[in-house]
């Protein structure tokens, strides 16, 4: 890793607290931030309630979800040896969203933990089907085809499930599930997602050397000591845990998992192992900044955050296709 790349990663790290301060000072109400921080967690003043109960959990959730999506994208690209892989693009997020919809709109009686657990199961089924349907080491086109098919199918099921949901608002909420949102989130959602995202991150950490070995292909990876089902399963579960639990609380936020690993790959010398952590860092930063943008431009008129990330991501995707056609490296 060159010093220039190290500096860039240090800059990303340093940008995190700055973005955090930006996020904490963004919102429809003007608050006295230093005073609110000074008055502490337990204070009853409206400024500190807004800071500690509303803005901080939302910002923390943005960081968590962004990190999970960056991590999930990097792991998925590494596992499928394919730069086009992305949880939202290939239906993993839809799998999680479908499960979350079934739990939330139909299973009111179930306990809170069921939501992330079932969302993780949904994500796992979706990522597993992509993996099986495309076949291991599949070409980019085959992979995207399989992913798009699964994504379309799951999105249709989502619409169907919402259509028959008892709530009057259900049908309009397809937008939320397809684009994601961080509005009105609190510490309860953070606490719900946090343990599962951490668990997913640990699994992917344990699989980092497998992802490195996979740069050489499945056979060589097996000859380097990564044979058997254990490692692919570890990655699949890691992705499902990280992505599934973040979709359960924030909906499907696309493109972070695609754009971030791409931008970060050169910074870590293309190493799929270190890419995981740098993508988590950059994903967290990107989603937090996207949320700051949402808060400062549209305010309570809540443009879905997924729309913002798509605005950033879609042109990037076009660029990827065009440059891929030129370089043949895709």
């Amino acid at each position: 890793m060159s010093t220039r790349n190290k500096t860039l990663i240090a800059v990303l790290l340093a940008a995190l607290p700055v973005a955090m301060l930006l996020a904490l000072s963004s919102g429809p109400v003007a608050i006295d931030l230093p005073a609110a921080i000074a008055s502490g967690w337990r204070s009853d003043s409206s400024d500190s309630v807004i800071l500690w109960q509303l803005r901080l959990p939302r910002a923390v959730l943005a960081l968590l979800v962004g990190a999970a999506l960056g991590l999930g994208g990097a792991a998925m690209q590494g596992m499928l040896r394919n730069p086009l892989a992305e949880p939202a693009l290939l239906g993993v997020s839809s799998g999680a969203a479908l499960a979350a919809i079934l739990v939330l709109y139909y299973g009111a009686a179930v306990s809170g933990l069921m939501l992330p657990l079932l969302a993780i199961t949904g994500a796992l089924l979706a990522v597993g089907s992509v993996w099986l349907l495309a076949g291991r080491g599949a070409s980019a086109s085959r992979l995207v085809l399989a992913g798009v098919a699964i994504n379309a199918f799951l999105s249709a099921l989502m619409a169907l499930a919402l259509n028959y949901a008892p709530s009057m608002f259900a049908m309009q909420e397809i937008v939320f599930w397809l684009l994601g949102s961080l509005a009105n989130r609190g510490w309860d959602q953070v606490l719900l997602a946090l343990p599962f995202i951490v668990a997913g991150a640990i699994m992917l950490f344990l699989a980092r050397n497998y992802l490195r070995a996979l740069s050489l292909g499945e056979t060589s990876a097996a000859s380097l000591g990564f044979a058997g089902r254990r490692y692919p399963l570890l990655v699949l579960f890691g992705i499902a845990f990280a992505v599934g639990s973040s979709v359960a609380v924030a909906g499907t936020i696309g493109f972070i998992g695609l754009v971030v690993p791409h931008l970060m790959r050169p910074l870590v010398g293309q190493d799929p192992g270190r890419l995981l952590w740098v993508s988590a860092l950059a994903g967290a930063l990107l989603l937090l900044l996207a949320d700051v943008l949402v808060l400062n431009t549209v305010g309570t008129q809540e443009l879905r955050i997924g729309a913002v990330t798509a605005f950033i991501g879609a042109p990037f995707f076009f660029w990827l296709i065009v440059s891929g056609r030129r370089e043949m490296s895709l």
């Binding site: 919102g27 109400v29 608050i31 409206s46 009111a108 709530s167 009057m168 509005a183 609190g186 309570t300």
Partner: protein, 282 residues
């Protein structure tokens, strides 16, 4: 046994007679409705035997308040559905089902358009129009009178200094400002509507941050939150726990939104009670 049977029969005759007296001049015998709110009004105020059809929406769990008698046909606002029922009065709203209404009118059926109500004034006009179309129904006249009484008792004059502040937080962070029926109800009940103070005209959005910053004395939710929806996420946010715990909340019934005629009087009474509680607590 015999004596008891006789009393029962007597009572039955009496009730029949009372019915005849009470509904002396029901303007129509076979009434059909093409509008959800008018459905509900008919079902609540008109004897079921005089209703031939209401819309299918009224049969949905969400809107049904009591089982709908089997002989009432659930229509989907198609003219041809109503033809064989030969209604002698068809009620429809200002909007929706207009094509069916026009068609039925062409075919010579008596169609009456009842104006929608988005304010107390419009509500009075609606009740008058209903009275004209249906004749003097006892519950209708009672409702008209109650409403007039409540409106006459205008508390805003006397209690300038102790006006608790209220804010509506409806699904999807929507709040109701000036010009809305909900605003009128709040002010009539003796509250200041914070949304209107903040310059919201008609509908507006209010974030949780604003709710906390404005710190209303009464936080008013709207509609049922029993079914999950992301739309209700704001009111489930833990930051509102203290409001709910301290009882400083009120929930407007969903019916107020689509059929205020049936809900307004109750809501106004409850809001007045709530206001009294808050003022007493202070």
């Amino acid at each position: 046994m015999g004596r008891q049977g006789r009393t029962t029969r007597l009572r039955a005759w009496l009730i029949c007679g009372l019915w005849l007296c009470a509904v002396p001049a029901l303007a129509a015998e076979r009434i059909a409705s093409l509008n959800l709110c008018l459905d509900q009004i008919l079902l609540s105020w008109v004897p079921p035997n005089n209703i031939v059809s209401v819309t299918w929406l009224s049969g949905q769990d969400q809107y049904r308040r009591a089982p709908i008698p089997e002989h009432i046909y659930l229509n989907r606002a198609q003219a041809e559905e109503l033809l064989p029922l030969t209604p002698d009065l068809i009620l429809t709203g200002q909007f929706g089902a207009q094509r069916a209404a026009a068609r039925l009118e062409q075919l010579g059926f008596p169609v009456v358009r009842i104006p929608d109500a988005y304010s107390l004034e419009q509500l009075q006009a609606q009740l008058t129009a209903l009275g004209k179309a249906l004749g003097p129904l006892p519950q209708l006249t009672a409702q008209e009178k109650q409403l007039a009484d409540l409106l006459a008792d205008n508390p805003s004059a006397g209690h300038e200094q102790s006006k608790p502040r209220a804010l509506i937080l409806s699904a999807n962070n929507i709040t109701y400002g000036s010009g809305m029926l909900e605003h009128q109800l709040l002010t009539r009940a003796g509250f200041t509507n914070l949304a209107a103070e903040e310059g919201v005209n008609q509908l507006g959005r209010v974030s949780l941050e604003q709710v906390i910053a404005l710190a209303p004395d009464l936080l008013v939710f709207y509609g049922g939150a029993q079914d999950f929806a992301i739309a209700h996420l704001a009111e489930r946010h833990p930051v509102l726990k203290q409001y709910i715990a301290s009882g400083r909340t009120y929930r407007l019934p969903e019916q107020l939104g689509y059929c205020p005629a049936l809900a307004v009087v109750d809501v106004l009474q409850q809001l007045k009670k709530k206001r009294a509680e808050i003022v007493d607590a202070e």
